[in-house]
């Protein structure tokens, strides 16, 4: 089994690696143990933790971009803010292929059934981020056509404030979602 970046799994030859994952002083990810009854260079963990670790570092976001916030999302995936640093650059526009629904922009009553449908089409496990005040609460569009927050139709895991949020805030949301995935007690 190949050596993962954070030291999960079993390495065949620790000496051949650039930086040994078990070099003294380097903390190992939560739930991964260096002391092993099997032998040198062998790490033990629970399968659940390994799955969570893999999931959180390979999020495939589906940007449901409807309005201005989507333009800021375009900024986050481009070179300056570079979402790929966090393992989430494989943006997919198909709900079947993604696990993070990022609702960027205003959702109207006309759009609501579509958002609901897209959420239902995504496979478990899935997470939802409401980006910007429009997606979170309707924002300053308190009127006859704007849905007052996407949580009226789908569950939301993380809300980002801002109109639009700064790109850094979107990165933070991603990190928070990663923490949430890591804490998931029973990944299936």
């Amino acid at each position: 089994m190949a050596q993962g970046r954070d030291g999960v799994g079993v390495s065949e030859d620790p000496a051949r690696r650039g930086v040994p994952a078990d070099s003294p002083g380097r903390p190992l990810p939560r739930g991964i143990h260096r002391e092993s009854p099997v032998g040198e260079g062998v790490y033990l963990t629970k399968l659940d933790l390994a799955i969570n670790w893999a999931r959180k570092n390979s999020i495939w976001p589906l940007p449901f971009g409807t309005a201005c916030c989507a333009i800021e999302f375009m900024g986050v995936v481009s070179s300056v803010f570079d979402l790929s640093r966090f393992g989430a650059e494989v943006v997919r526009f198909s709900p079947r292929q993604s696990d993070l629904l990022l609702v960027a922009g205003t959702v109207t009553y006309k759009q609501a059934p579509i958002l609901r449908r897209i959420y239902e089409q995504m496979c478990e496990p899935k997470w939802v981020v409401a980006m910007g005040v429009c997606a979170s609460s309707g924002g300053f569009y308190d009127n006859y056509c704007t849905l007052q927050g996407i949580d009226k139709v789908i569950p939301v895991d993380f809300y980002i404030a801002g109109c639009p949020p700064r790109p850094e805030a979107i990165l933070q949301a991603l990190l928070e979602i990663q923490k949430k995935i890591e804490r998931n007690p029973a990944p299936r």
Partner: protein
């Protein structure tokens, strides 16, 4: 603008005459809207307003036709101007005015289960209505089939495909239902309104200055131009003229926004064609311009920088240097991209001769901006009706040859260069002086005056409590935005909030020509054509 009042039964005939008579030649229906005059006068409740424009003669004309509330109908203009189709549907949707003999009179911005007409003054702004099921558009498709004089193929081999409103190859919230025959598009039915977020109704419940943040979010790729366009309209209504320095700053921010808008449009268009690298080149430049805008306005995207009668603040001391530094990077980003695409066989095959439209038809659809200039018709408000000292700058209006996707992309690249020239000249010539008009009922007095003099205090109090109150009247002011003519038609009843505020978004009219551009072509071309039209849902649906 002169106003003519006409009876509703004479509209069709009158419009046809005004369009065809050589001494008038009102060839473009700039916009069509309705004013709910219930609170302004007794008698007929609605005025249907036609804003006409003769591009050659540069003259505008407004036609108003009163319509009573009961028995609420008027003749259709669909046989005369092609964009009357959608504009009439919008007027019907928002106000409930029925256009007799309209071929497809159904709601356009609000959903099909909506009850009532939200822009009537007595519709409660907070009364939202849920939609249970999305429109399948079968009725429109059927009507479209029936209108086709030469139906091709049988029903059996047709494939119905929903491109959008959330589709890997479609942008934002645009939906197109297409009927395919193999890979050829037989019919295309666009459905819009997914981002209709009630700009016009919201504007009626906010003070004039409070509407500015809403204008940011119309065309969110070039917010500053919207700010400027809206402020100019209200200033015209108030009859004030902003200072020279303000005008120059407005020119600079307008042109920087135009550059950004074109960068996003072309970058996204190229991604749609599979050329991802260009996206990085162009977006990096955009990020640099963002930094300048952010240090000027405090926000990257939603700027709200103008005020009625001036600006939120003067430019920062390092602004000029920062802008000049950014301008130096434009040629590299544009040049790198052009090197990759200008002689690229794939790009040329996918854009040349695709989505062709000629000038006359484009005008009938209400095309303006780069999409009209791509047809070879050199029309630009900055040259034809110069405002904000545009006539004192040396720049050219790029135009295309045949109005295809290639021309639309290339016109935008060239406009980026021209905008750089304008910005440089404006920086060189920037006058000193105040940025705001001196008018206590329009612009807040300086803080020092507010604290130290009674006049200052009163002025501050009055403006905060009662806002800007333009005199009773109406104005239509057009600005050359990145996408074309962005107009605001504002009616004032003398109060602190607009009685009516109608936006004339350039891409609404352009998008209504999509079926005409894509039918008969390949399905992959729909994506390329759509990208080159630069449809921004925020201003399309408002």
């Amino acid at each position: 603008m002169p106003v003519v009042r006409l009876a509703r039964g004479a509209i069709t005939e009158a419009l046809r005459f005004l369009r065809d008579e050589p001494s008038y030649r009102f060839d473009m229906l700039t916009d069509l809207t309705v004013v709910d005059c219930g609170e302004l006068r007794d008698g007929d409740r609605f005025d249907v307003v036609y804003l006409l424009h003769s591009l050659e003669r540069g003259e505008r004309l407004a036609i108003k036709s009163p319509v009573p509330e009961e028995d609420c109908w008027i003749e259709t203009a669909t046989g005369i101007y092609k964009n009357a189709d959608w504009t009439e549907r919008e007027a019907y949707d928002q106000y409930g005015v029925v256009f007799r003999d309209h071929p497809n009179l159904k709601r356009i911005l609000n959903h099909k289960e909506f009850v009532g007409h939200p822009l009537r003054r007595d519709y409660d702004i907070y009364k939202g209505q849920w939609l249970s099921e999305v429109d399948d558009l079968e009725d429109e498709l059927e009507r479209r089939r029936r209108r086709d004089p030469t139906p091709r193929g049988g029903q059996a081999d047709a494939m119905i495909l929903n491109l959008g409103p959330s589709h890997p190859a479609a942008h934002g919230t645009l939906r197109n239902l297409v009927e395919l025959e193999g890979e050829t598009v037989r019919y295309c039915i666009p459905e819009i309104g997914y981002l209709h977020r009630g700009f016009e109704k919201s504007a009626e419940t906010h003070e004039y200055n409070q509407v500015i943040p809403y204008t940011d979010r119309l065309n969110y790729c070039s917010c500053l131009i919207n700010n400027v366009a809206y402020s100019r309209a209200v200033e015209a209504l108030c009859g004030i003229e902003v200072t020279d320095r303000c005008k120059f700053i407005r020119v600079i921010i307008t042109e920087l926004s135009r550059i950004m808008d074109h960068l996003v449009c072309n970058a996204a268009n190229l991604v749609d064609l599979g050329a991802l690298t260009n996206y990085w080149y162009l977006f990096n430049l955009r990020e640099r311009i963002y930094n300048v805008i952010e240090s000027l306005t405090g926000a990257r995207l939603t700027t709200s920088y103008t005020r009625i009668g001036g600006l939120w603040a003067d430019i920062t001391p390092d602004f000029e240097e920062a802008v000049r530094a950014v301008l130096k990077e434009v040629p590299k980003a544009v040049g790198d991209t052009l090197k990759l695409i200008a002689r690229n066989k794939i790009f040329i095959d996918r854009t040349v001769g695709i989505g062709v439209i000629d000038a006359e038809e484009a005008i009938s659809f209400g095309f303006t901006g780069p999409c009209l200039r791509a047809t070879g018709y050199e029309y630009d408000l900055r040259k034809r009706h110069p405002y904000d000292h545009y006539d004192s700058f040396d720049f050219e209006i790029p135009s295309g040859h045949q109005g295809d996707t290639y021309d639309r992309v290339m016109v935008r690249f060239e406009e980026i260069r021209q905008s750089c020239r304008i910005v440089e000249q404006a920086l060189d010539k920037m006058p000193s002086g105040p940025v705001n008009v001196e008018h206590p009922r329009i612009i807040l007095p300086p803080k020092k005056q507010t604290y130290e003099s009674i006049e200052g205090l009163v002025g501050h109090f009055k403006l905060i409590m009662h806002g800007v109150n333009p005199p009773v009247g109406e104005a239509y002011v057009a600005t050359e935005a990145a996408n074309g003519e962005l107009g605001f038609f504002i009616v004032s009843d003398g109060g602190m909030k607009p009685y009516k505020c109608k936006v004339r978004p350039p891409c609404f009219h352009i998008y209504s020509a999509l079926p005409r551009l894509v039918e008969g072509g390949m399905v992959a071309d729909v994506v390329a054509i759509l990208g080159s039209l630069n449809i921004i849902a925020g201003e399309l649906d408002r």
